[in-house]
């Protein structure tokens, strides 16, 4: 089940989602992480970050709200310790980066540019833009494009740059298009939409940070919708899908919508083996359906199988 992330070949389409697989070492206790298509790291920042106060976690119906705040060791410690360990384990490492300004993303790219073992760079655009009153990059096509262009210009030409988008944009296609125009080789969607929970006993926000990112099965319909819209508008752009995948059927749903790789995030919290299980289930489902090549399934739901009147699809963009 080979697949391509831009020109980079992955042995299979299942990866971990950024920020959901620790340093890689935790999963490696359970299985050989080189069996995954790739391991996507947590989003690396320039400086070490302590993250947000606790509570960082609240459960919602079929979802998880988290506000970790990009806790991590900073790029230097990452390059010194985490990345080499991933390489030693034979894992393909996609490095996610996060910053508060174009300059910070650029500086991160510069550090990564010479580092061995970087299969691709994923640009986490769900970060507050310090220069824009903390407005999140991913909601602004121009700001997103600027970050992507800077990273693309800095990274080695043979390392794909993947822009990661969030569903709470007014027009996800506009952001996607801006990123591709800015030089993104692929797109990853979706990051967590902003959510919140209030504890009705303490009568205060359940998370110390107030709001948090919503992940898990609850957001899968948003992920499918974003993938569908972006694949329809930009059929040539490779998409990495994520959001609420915990079974092979879920992964197939994202593939049919347009994803050529699928990341597993929250499901790993429930089951460290979730990635391998999803992969096996996906393989079985594709076999059952008679696919010879994985690529034939990618975006298939967009191509009507002849005239099937019960499934005529008119895509006017209104929820009602």
């Amino acid at each position: 089940m080979r697949t391509y992330l831009a020109h980079v070949e992955l042995a299979n389409p299942i990866t971990t989602a950024a920020g959901c697989a620790g340093s890689g070492a935790e999963l490696a206790q359970f299985f050989d992480v080189s069996r995954l298509g790739a391991v996507v790291t947590r989003s690396i920042t320039m400086a070490p970050r302590a993250g947000r106060p606790t509570p960082r976690l609240a459960e919602t119906p079929s979802g998880l709200l988290t506000a970790v705040g990009l806790q991590g060791p900073g790029v230097d410690a990452f390059l010194a310790a985490e990345l080499p360990r991933l390489a030693e384990r034979g894992a393909r490492a996609v490095v996610s980066i996060a910053g508060g300004s174009v300059a910070e993303y650029t500086a991160l790219a510069r550090r990564l540019a010479d580092a061995p073992g970087v299969t691709a760079v994923e640009v986490n655009l769900s970060c507050p833009n310090v220069a824009d009153l903390g407005r999140v990059f991913a909601r602004d096509p121009a700001a997103s494009a600027e970050v992507v262009a800077a990273v693309r210009a800095t990274m080695r030409y043979d390392v794909p740059v993947v822009a990661k988008l969030a569903p709470d944009a007014a027009d996800i296609v506009a952001v996607a298009r801006a990123c591709v125009d800015g030089g993104a080789d692929a797109l990853a969607l979706i990051n967590t939409p902003l959510g919140m929970a209030i504890d009705v006993d303490t009568m205060r926000p359940a998370l110390a940070a107030g709001t948090g990112g919503l992940s898990g099965p609850a957001v899968r319909p948003l992920a499918v919708r974003c993938l569908w819209q972006v694949h329809a508008a930009l059929p040539g752009v490779p998409l990495v899908g994520m959001g609420g995948v915990s079974t092979g059927r879920d992964a197939l749903e994202l593939v049919l919508a347009g994803a050529c790789a699928v990341a597993v995030g929250t499901a790993l919290f429930h089951d460290p083996y979730a990635g391998l299980r999803v992969l096996r289930e996906l393989e079985d489902l594709l076999k059952e359906r008679g696919f010879e090549r994985f690529a034939d399934a990618v975006g298939l739901a967009h191509r009507p199988p002849g005239a099937a009147p019960r499934h005529r699809t008119d895509l006017e963009e209104s929820p009602l």
Binding site: R42, A50, L64, G99, T266, F269
Partner: protein
């Protein structure tokens, strides 16, 4: 496959889980999936292992209080239902090589994890004294067993319905003094652990505390379960209760700062690090 029973305010649940039983050491915990295959609750729930037994190849017993929907669901499980359980997880209680005097302090269901520990300690020739407390008599867990095992057993309840009226920390100094204890082990609510650690400091003896923080994964990947702990190098780091803990040396835990990021923690905001400066580093 499992059996269930009520123990005062708690539910005890025994699961056949040879893999977990075999690797178990006192202080380990497990995580349990709740709500069945069509559940709307994606997060596992963490529980200390109360006991392991060799029956049926190895069983694990948990003791829990019903708090919300997940534990309510667990309380309704019946004999022969199956349970999705992962473990053993976490850093267990370190045990001394030499036969020393140990006070084991437990609050509410926190007592549950102390009996396997007491067993191990006694096998090594340690003296064990218990101080168990709770809000009320029905919430003191394991009093009988403590009386059977411990050199002494002191019980406290806040409403005075059993043992001394007051808290574990009120009774602790006398017990330490009488037993001439060399070390304290504690498991219970954060406020109690903080108090126990303060008492240990007064007596200048080491204390091992087992903390409880909300956890999504239990094996170190989600970063939701952190608390500020002072590292060997003197630097405070936000460490994971699930893999670096749940057992910590009490004096290393910055109890008064739990639920915050102390300004001097590695990577804390305020340092330019979190403001997004590109080339700065916060060395905390």
């Amino acid at each position: 496959m499992l059996t269930t029973r009520r123990v005062d305010a708690y539910h005890a649940l025994t699961v056949v889980a040879p893999g977990i039983a075999e690797r178990f050491r006192p202080g380990h915990f497990v995580t349990v999936a709740v709500g069945g295959p069509d559940t709307s609750m994606p997060a596992r729930r963490a529980f200390a292992v109360h006991d392991v037994k060799p029956d049926y190849g190895g069983t694990v017993e948990l003791v829990f209080a019903v708090r919300g929907r997940g534990t309510a669901w667990l309380a309704e499980r019946r004999a022969r239902d199956t349970l999705d359980i992962v473990g053993p997880l976490g850093r267990p209680f370190p045990v001394p090589r030499d036969p020393v005097g140990c006070v084991l302090a437990g609050g509410e269901y926190g007592s549950a994890s102390l009996f396997a520990l007491a067993d191990t300690l006694q096998q090594r020739g340690c003296r064990v004294d218990f101080v168990l407390g709770a809000a009320s008599a029905d919430r003191v867990f394991g009093a009988l067993r403590a009386r059977r095992m411990g050199e002494t057993t002191t019980l406290t309840t806040e409403d005075g319905s059993l043992g001394l009226r007051g808290r574990v920390t009120d009774a602790l100094p006398a017990v330490i003094a009488d037993a001439r204890a060399d070390v304290i082990y504690a498991c219970g609510p954060m406020a109690m652990l903080r108090g126990v650690t303060a008492v240990a400091a007064e007596f200048d003896i080491p204390v091992q505390v087992s903390v409880e923080e909300a956890m999504a994964c239990g094996y170190g990947v989600c970063m939701t379960c952190v608390l500020p702990v002072i590292d060997d190098d003197g630097v405070t780091r936000m460490v994971r209760a699930c893999v670096e803990g749940p057992v910590f040396r009490g004096e290393r835990v910055r109890f008064e700062d739990v639920g915050t990021i102390p300004f001097d923690a590695l990577g804390a905001p305020g340092g330019r690090a979190q403001e997004g400066g590109a080339h700065t580093r916060n060395v905390g």
